[in-house]
């Protein structure tokens, strides 16, 4: 199993509620700010986009790259974080 960061574990352990996008794994201050500017100010909005893309990894990664300029590692972290959250709570 690949190692996951503390941020990932914290996010996946409980319902996201009103957490900001910065709480997502792979999304830090800079990327979070960019997402907020685009209107994705809460983690659940990014979740919405993830679900609309049918949880497809490639499309979500591409969307993330286009929207906030995330690199490959950040894309992967965010994707796996959201996917695992969905597995547990959706």
């Amino acid at each position: 199993m690949s190692s996951t960061s503390q941020k990932h574990k914290d996010f996946v352990a409980e319902p996201m509620g009103e957490k900001t996008v910065m709480a997502l794994a792979g999304i830090g201050e800079v990327l979070g700010k960019r997402l907020e500017e685009k209107g994705f100010d809460k983690a659940y909005v990014v979740l919405g986009q993830f679900l609309v893309l049918r949880k497809d990894e490639e499309l979500f990664r591409e969307w993330l790259k286009d929207t906030c300029g995330a690199n490959t590692k950040q894309q992967g972290d965010c994707y796996s974080c959201l996917r695992e959250w969905c597995d547990s709570f959706l």
Binding site: V52, G69, R83
Partner: protein, 379 residues
């Protein structure tokens, strides 16, 4: 009068007019600015030019290919959501809802699929051509063959899209423009809407993107700025960008990294792997090892149940049931008391009846009573 300079913007308006008339192109209204003439000139004259010997092949082929690429771009933009979905399904891609935020992504994906399936050889040929700038006869033939295939495909697309409505086109254009105004880095979206694309360079960029995925953001930005500037300028500066591309190619080859698993994710080839068809949702790992889903462990280290789930009761469901049962035991006594009361009432009712019920037992009793009376009366 021989013209050595390629730049039609340097032509006089009169010259542009005469050129357009010579090529049987409709003139724009006479009050229009020179740049309208320039655009028309570029669109029509450049694609049919045979005057410039040294650049003939590149311009001719680049122009016609550009026109076809333009047609494809326009087609994708004209497709309605359902048609886009259907086209994706043709390539085996089950698309999700096509909404404002997802449309651009799906258009890009479709374009990539169309490119990769029909023009695999084109990629190779264009790559060597642009890199070398030295035209070979063999390359030329290969290019022409591929363009015949391309032209037949785009004709098909064009016939399909003849019936498209204006509203969908303007809607998609509007969406695309809105998006491109939002993000400066989002020229991938504007790529799908822009009609003037130099196909070879952008295809090369994609090819390079898929093959050598740079890990640093800087090279991404460099690439993006390079590709962005490529689209906004039209084909008259094609050569300049080819030169630029040569530079960036050499630059990029220095920072070349080994193809990573990213390649597998960005290259959209028709899926032939059975396992990935069976389990489309699992993430592809470089080692091929798939991890199982992990459920959060309640009460494990750092996640004591009371703090994580404060709303839930602390007792387990079985103890809750026991409590409920205990609660039910109390009214049970009440039920027994009520039952006894009812029994007493029934007995009293029976006892107070005037005519006793007659049955064999009462008859026997009566007989015994009579016998007893007789005994006592005899004494």
């Amino acid at each position: 009068m021989p013209v050595f300079v390629e730049d039609p913007a340097l032509f006089s308006k009169e010259r542009l007019k005469s050129e357009l008339m010579a090529h049987n192109v409709d003139l724009p209204p006479p009050e229009s600015k020179k740049h309208a003439y320039v655009e028309l000139y570029l669109k029509h004259v450049r694609t049919n030019t045979t005057d410039f010997s040294s650049d003939e092949e590149e311009d001719h082929l680049g122009g016609s290919a550009e026109k076809e690429e333009k047609a494809k771009m326009v087609d994708l933009g004209l497709l309605t959501d359902d048609q886009l979905k259907a086209k994706l399904l043709q390539y085996g891609v089950k698309a999700g809802p096509i909404v404002a935020s997802t449309r651009a992504l799906y258009e890009k994906k479709l374009k990539r699929l169309m490119d990769s399936s029909a023009q695999a050889s084109q990629h190779r040929v264009n790559g060597t051509r642009d890199a070398g700038l030295y035209s070979d006869n063999e390359e030329e033939d290969g290019r022409e063959e591929d363009e015949d295939k391309e032209s037949s495909e785009s004709e098909q697309l064009r016939s399909d899209t003849i019936a498209r409505t204006e509203t969908s086109k303007t809607a998609s254009r509007g969406k695309i423009q809105h998006k491109s105004s939002d993000a400066t880095q989002n020229e991938s979206l504007s790529q799908s809407g822009s009609p003037y694309r130099s196909f070879s360079i952008t295809q090369m960029v994609e090819e390079i993107e898929t093959r050598f995925s740079p890990q640093s953001k800087q090279t991404e930005i460099e690439r993006r700025s390079g590709s962005r500037s490529k689209q906004t300028v039209d084909s008259r500066v094609l050569r300049d960008f080819m030169r630029l591309d040569k530079d960036t190619m050499t630059g990029r080859s220095l920072c070349l990294t080994s193809p990573s698993s990213h390649q597998k994710l960005t290259v959209t080839e028709p899926v032939t792997d059975v396992l990935s068809e069976m389990f489309p949702d699992t993430a592809r790992t470089p080692t091929g090892i798939y991890a199982t889903k992990r459920r959060p462990i309640k009460g494990a280290a750092g996640r004591p149940v009371q703090f994580k789930y404060p709303e839930m009761p602390l007792l387990s469901p079985t103890s809750l049931e026991r409590q409920e049962i205990q609660q039910r035991l109390v009214p049970l006594w009440v039920q027994i008391v009520v039952f006894l009361l009812v029994v007493c009432m029934l007995y009293l009712i029976y006892a107070s009846m005037e005519e006793p019920l007659s049955n064999t037992f009462t008859d026997l009793l009566e007989d015994l009573q009579e016998a007893a009376l007789i005994f006592t009366s005899e004494d």
